[in-house]
């Protein structure tokens, strides 16, 4: 069985306080690492989108991924009230036209409320076009707010990156209630965690990610390779679930 990997969590660009040991997130370095670990494609965001400003980071992201068919841009958004971006019903279709199939938000580092009151206009458009919204649950560890947003916008595809073994007690009840929450697993290094999760919530909620350049793909790839789950389930986590999310958005773009 030949399996293809699609990494759902890679960061391009330079962080301000880069640890000296960390691989620099240049396109060249990331592509070399993808080659080293036989990862076909990656969804990438840009460090400057978190640190400098999303508008700067998005410009760099789209420039750096242009002409790189293995790297798919995940654009960073802000809520509409401060008008730092065009209105969502205008801006998101523009992103679709540019080939963007996923977006992310960083409510913690960008200092806004991740609520219907602040972001509802944005959530409505994202839900309508089935564009997945990525949130780093490792830094935004507010499962109550995630639960509320998922309840208010049941068609919104929420992808929680950096899902951790430490989140399980908060996550399980939310996952039982909400259909469109998905989890990226590079920090879900729980003993028999996949084996426990899949019978309860389904394999369709899990996405492989590496967390590069901070983390090595070797951890999560080996965990997935050695898990006591079916080869078909491994393939879904390794690539197919993410492709399904992005294609949902593609179908809307085609219409």
């Amino acid at each position: 069985m030949s399996v293809r990997w699609f990494d759902a969590c890679v960061r391009l660009g330079r962080t301000c306080a880069r640890p000296h040991y960390e691989m620099e997130g240049s396109v060249e370095n990331i592509l070399a690492a993808l080659d080293r670990f036989s990862i076909a494609e990656a969804l990438v965001y840009h460090a400057s989108g978190d640190e400098t400003h999303p508008s700067v980071g998005n410009r760099l992201l789209l420039e750096e991924t242009a002409g790189q068919p293995r790297l798919h841009p995940c654009v960073t958004l802000l809520p509409p009230a401060t008008e730092e971006f065009p209105p969502p019903d205008q801006y998101l279709p523009e992103l679709l036209q540019q080939g963007v199939r996923a977006v992310r938000m960083s409510p913690g580092s960008h200092a806004y409320s991740f609520t219907a009151g602040t972001c509802g206009e944005l959530f409505e458009v994202l839900a309508e076009i089935h564009m997945p919204l990525f949130i780093d649950i490792g830094t935004f560890a507010d499962w109550t707010t995630i639960d509320d947003v998922a309840a208010d916008f049941p068609q919104l595809r929420l992808v929680l990156t950096s899902f951790s073994y430490g989140h399980t007690r908060k996550a399980y009840p939310v996952l039982r209630r909400r259909e469109h929450i998905y989890l990226e697993i590079h920090t879900y290094e729980l003993h028999n965690g996949l084996e426990h999760f899949i019978p309860r919530f389904g394999v369709g909620k899990l996405l492989f990610g590496s967390g590069m350049p901070v983390f090595t793909p070797a951890s999560t790839m080996t965990m997935l390779a050695c898990a006591s789950i079916s080869p078909a389930d491994k393939q879904m986590i390794a690539r197919d679930n993410l492709v399904g999310l992005l294609e949902g958005c593609n179908q809307h773009a085609a219409t």
């Binding site: 030949s2 040991y21 073994y165 983390f215 070797a218």
Partner: protein, 274 residues
Amino acid sequence: MPPLDFSKVTAAVADLASVKSYLDDILVIDCHAHIGPHSRYFVPEDDIDHIIAAMDSIGVDRVGINALAALEGDYESGNDVTAEAIRRYPDRVIGHCCVNPNYPDAVAAETIRCFEQLGCKMLKFHGGWHQIEPGHANYRPAIEYCAARKIPLLTHLPDYIKSLPGYVAVAREYPDMPFIIAHATCPTAIDEIIEHCAHVENIFFDTTGYPKYYSSIERIVNGGGEDRVLFGSDIAWLNLAHEIGPIVFADLSDTAKEKILGFNFNKIMQEITI
């Protein structure tokens, strides 16, 4: 042994043949693991049977282990859980003796009970939970017992940066006793650990918990030497495969990987004179 081809990890997603076949050919010992539940996280299947099953599925031969209860206040019943695992899997389980320095009157007696009645072969301090520095007098009866027998001490330091000078001083007092730093590849501590400990030959470095950081294995090997790095996993909290993958696929020689995965720790174990 043929070098491991990185492209095989792709094939390994279909089954674990390539990883397991590599590990089956070498001695693999996990020096840092735990049995049983703990309050902080939900862990499915945390008993010794499931830990042994996970080891078998990947190709890990032996495990150094303690019950998490033994690191808390109820350390005596925790050590009994460890002893039961030793009794059930004597060829696979290397028991950690855990003492709690906050109950100093019991440290010496519990140390003797662990090594002379329960069959333990390692000493474990968790200064982070005990909130006591490894050089504290309350730990000394256990250290002196183990130093006389070359029993290794695995230590989770309460604060890696502040604790290191005191830890190094204790290690220098007992140069024939192996001192193993738990979680030595932690990104916020690895530089200080290398700086303070690389020149102290009886200090070893456990990979547990942080090999996932890019190039952390290569970094601790370059800083501490391939003869002093030991594989640890934190199973049943953490996932054995997640912890071992970065070593198997590290940019190191096969010889270095074999040393880290089992040879180095086996050499320590062979020196014990209980």
